[in-house]
């Protein structure tokens, strides 16, 4: 196997974004590229694949201009035989072509059965949904984010199948950019299983870009036979520029092994009590306990408790959170917060006047969208109107809860759009924790973070619990939270047809 090393420099305007010296890409191996979101992992993937837009960036591959690399025969061959699975599945499907048409588009039409790989990515019980999706024109909520991601993965697998059936002369380059961002753990594991199954048959060159460090424990335990084909790299920011280095998976595994169940410190009557049934979008959502069979009951969160709400992709965890915070109207729901009973007939103005920022708040899943990109970092906290967040020193001490003190002076003067994805996510969480609300809802709080930041966020949650605040948590990071949250605080959300 030959390893090509690339010196990749990517700049936008006069700003150098990425300076990856000697980035190794080994032919016929699987390279994992970890790191915080938004620091340039995708740019490296696109640069290597030869699809980075030169009208937006100035790119150098070693000493040569980008066009020379892009048009070189090896890069062309790798591209022609390969595939790039983009992140953000919602924007990567054409709204004017059906799913089926898109699965047979371009060279994918050469596959013997372009639709077959998709079947592998659905659970046996849910396979009936795929034929229903094929004639659909993609819309924002249909197919769901998770379904769209699986459809894009199926396209990549379809391209791999063409190679397997002898339709491609040389191995191609397959870049998977955050391929599991919208998937629950089960769906993620199935996707990885199918990818590695193909890899065992034909060693393509694979670059897997992700911030999901949890993949490490999965591939180390379930695909140990491929250990020799795995390469681990990490992108980190130094001196304002993203650089790459080798990553030792043992560091993460050791950290994960050190995580312990947190002691139960909850007390008193529930801050939040949601009755056991919510009716929304023609479905019924119910809460149960893991391993509790069909028994359903209310969802309760007490002061100091970290309640963990689990469910598969697309079941409606975020929907429940939005109903509780009054952003989404449900046909039927009842809940009680801090002694006040509310339901589907309660006016929205009640949330605005009495609850938002006073009794409850929520940190949204996508920090990119949840923060104002043109606002300053300080303004993002100051807008909360709290007396304790007026001066520069107050802002600094608030930021120090999740940021390194050394980076704070520079950080304070920046706009949100200038931050990396991980920095945005930390700011997003800080904003929610800065309010002294008795209830905080956290939707995917660990997304976009490297594992050092994850550690800090877990510390922040611990502090909030110690202060007696109730936290309702939604997360796909089961590798981490299953180790922390006591079983009594875990709730499973189920969706059913109305009876």
């Amino acid at each position: 196997m030959t390893t090509s090393r690339f010196d990749i420099r990517i700049a936008a305007g006069n700003r150098l974004l990425v300076d990856a010296v000697g980035f190794p890409l080994e032919e016929g191996a699987i390279t994992f590229l970890f790191g915080e979101s938004g620091i340039g992992k995708s740019l490296i993937g696109k640069a290597l694949f030869g699809i980075l837009d030169e009208s937006e960036f100035r790119i150098r591959m070693g000493a040569a201009p980008y066009a020379e690399y892009r048009d070189s025969p090896p890069a062309r061959a790798a591209r022609n035989g390969g595939f790039f699975m983009f992140q953000e599945p919602s924007s990567h499907l054409n709204p004017l072509l059906t799913i089926e048409q898109q699965m047979k588009e371009g060279t994918l039409a050469k596959a013997k059965d372009p639709l077959a790989p998709a079947m592998e990515l659905w659970r046996d019980a849910d396979r009936g949904t795929l034929p229903l999706l094929l004639p659909v024109y993609p819309r924002p909520y249909r197919p769901s984010g998770g379904e769209k991601q699986r459809i894009l993965a199926a396209m990549a697998f379809s391209k791999m199948d063409i190679g397997l059936s002898g339709g491609a002369d040389s191995p191609g380059l397959f870049v998977f950019d955050e391929p599991t961002g919208s998937l629950d753990r089960e769906a993620r594991d199935r996707l990885l299983d199918r990818l590695f199954a193909r890899f065992r048959l034909r060693h393509e060159t694979i670059l897997l870009v992700t911030h999901d460090y949890g993949m490490i424990s999965y591939v180390q335990s379930r695909h140990r036979d491929l250990e020799k084909s795995f390469r681990f790299m990490e992108l980190y920011v130094s001196g304002g520029v993203a650089r790459t280095r080798e990553f030792d998976p043992g560091r993460f595994l050791a950290w994960l092994g050190d995580l312990r169940k947190e002691p139960a410190i909850e007390s008193g009557s529930p801050v939040l009590r949601v009755e056991g049934e919510i009716r929304v979008f023609g479905r019924v959502l119910r809460f149960s306990k893991p391993g509790g069979g069909s028994r359903t009951g209310p969802l309760e969160v007490r002061p100091g408790e970290l309640a963990y709400l689990k469910a598969g992709s697309g079941i409606g965890k975020t929907t429940v959170a939005k109903i509780i915070v009054g952003l989404l109207h449900a046909d039927y729901f009842r809940f009680e917060i801090d002694g006040v009973r509310l339901g589907d007939v309660s006016p929205r103005s009640y949330w605005r006047k009495r609850l938002w920022g006073k009794k409850m708040t929520m940190a949204f899943q996508h920090a990119d969208e949840a923060l104002n990109p043109r606002a300053g970092v300080s303004d993002t906290l100051r807008i909360l109107g709290k007396r304790s967040l007026r001066g520069a020193a107050d802002i600094d001490s608030a930021l120090a809860r999740l940021f390194d003190r050394r980076e704070i002076p520079e950080l304070r003067g920046k706009k949100v759009w200038q931050l990396s994805g991980g920095q945005k996510q930390r700011l997003n969480l800080l904003r929610a924790f800065a309010l002294d609300t008795p209830l905080i809802i956290l939707d995917e709080p660990l997304s976009a973070l490297d594992f050092e930041s994850i550690d800090r966020v877990l510390g922040l949650i611990r502090e909030a619990r110690a202060d007696g605040r109730a936290i309702l948590l939604i997360s796909h990071n089961e590798d981490i939270f299953d180790r922390i949250v006591p079983p009594g605080s875990v709730h499973v959300l189920e969706s059913a047809e109305p009876s």
Binding site: I51, R79, H92, N94, P95, E105, G106, V136, Y137
Partner: protein, 371 residues
């Protein structure tokens, strides 16, 4: 998504509301004019239309005064004051602008209304022709500009400045060529942005600027109509080309080469037939998505085209045309007729808006999901 009846109702109600509002305005104006019109003293009215008497001649004047003294109308004590009142009234009639065309002010009637109809038909023909021509010309221009952008072609001015900066030997001829092209392109740009009357007056000595054959191309190219419309589609094409699904189509192997020749190249026919000319090319997806968003701009465009035609017909005083007639009716305060023409123009725009909404509705329904 709106339904067909809802679209029709929305536009029809607007037409009815505006129609009623204009009728009310017309009635109010008539009443206002009637109230403010100087009333002729009934005692002198019969003496105003005696054509055989010319009061500027001393003899006629003396005879007329004597006659008034003999047949003195009831209630008149002083013949001189009566004489002065008659003279003032005759002078006022003489200076009334509506009398200048001979006869009184025209009002909306069967005859005047049907006189407007042929003018409206000509207006409609010119308007539809300009709309269709602008649509296709703007589309071709936008596609050409988009492909030139994709081919990495920069403006002559930029290339000229870059050539100066490079200071390469022996490039003087090429620099001069670039400068000349840049100047010519600048003149063409000025032409596209020039108001129609500037162009029309520039050509008036050598062309028949009052012909409809001059009006139509002038309405297409002048007033910035074409360039704005083309630029709108171009911006949509650029925005679509940056979307994720286009990147995915490219990695699926759908052709994305914008060279005019070579394997997977785009064909020149794409300028006239953007969908057929881009089979198996990613441009087809870009164009189809952009076009769906372009359709509603037809509504805005309709108002621009009408504005252009109105300006041309009025500024060039093209007699016998609807907008020239509108100007004349405004000039002579024939408000009824002016309102009728304004309503006809408004109706035309509304009709186009309804057409654009229905077109968008039908196009969108093609991509509706089952269930």
């Amino acid at each position: 998504m709106r339904s067909i009846p809802a679209v029709i109702f929305e536009h029809l109600s607007a037409v009815i509301v505006v129609g009623l509002a204009l009728v009310v305005v017309s009635v109010l104006v008539r009443r206002g004019e009637a109230a403010s019109a100087p009333r002729t003293d009934p005692r002198i009215e019969r003496y105003l239309d005696i054509d055989s008497v010319d009061l500027s001649r001393p003899l006629d004047r003396a005879l007329f005064r004597d006659a008034l003294g003999v047949i003195r109308p009831p209630g008149v004590s002083n013949v001189d004051s009566l004489m002065r009142a008659i003279e003032d009234a005759r002078l006022a009639r003489f200076t009334d602008p509506s009398r200048k065309t001979g006869g009184g002010r025209a009002v909306l009637s069967w005859e005047t209304g049907t006189a407007i109809l042929p003018m409206y038909a000509v207006f409609l023909l010119a308007y539809l022709t300009v709309m269709v021509l602008t649509y296709f010309a703007a589309r071709a221009l936008a596609v050409w500009k988009f492909i030139a952008w994709k081919q990495g072609r920069t403006s002559y001015l930029r290339r000229y400045i870059a050539a100066i900066e490079s200071l390469g030997p022996g490039a003087a001829v090429s620099r001069a060529g670039l400068l000349l092209k840049s100047v010519l392109k600048g003149i063409a740009s000025l032409l596209l942005f020039a108001p129609a009357y500037v162009i029309a007056y520039s050509f008036r000595t050598s062309l028949d600027t009052e012909s409809i054959l001059f009006l139509i191309p002038l309405a297409v190219v002048s007033n910035g109509v074409l360039v704005n419309y083309a630029n709108h589609l171009y911006a949509l094409l650029v925005a679509e080309s940056r979307k994720g699904y286009i990147q995915t189509a490219i990695v699926k192997g759908v052709s994305s080469s914008y060279a005019w020749d070579g394997p997977g190249a785009i064909r020149r026919a794409v300028l006239l037939f953007p969908v057929l000319g881009a089979r198996n090319h990613v441009f087809r997806d870009i164009y189809r998505n952009a076009r769906l968003q372009f359709i509603p701009s037809l509504k805005e465009h309709a108002a621009f085209v009408v504005t252009g035609i109105v300006i041309i017909e009025m500024a060039l005083n093209i007699k016998g045309h609807l907008c020239y007639a509108l100007l004349q009716h405004l000039l002579f305060r024939e408000i009824d007729l002016a309102i009728a023409i304004v309503f006809a123009i408004f109706f035309t725009v509304k009709l186009t808006e309804a057409f654009a909404d229905l077109w968008l509705l039908f196009e969108s329904r093609r991509y509706d999901n089952p269930g």
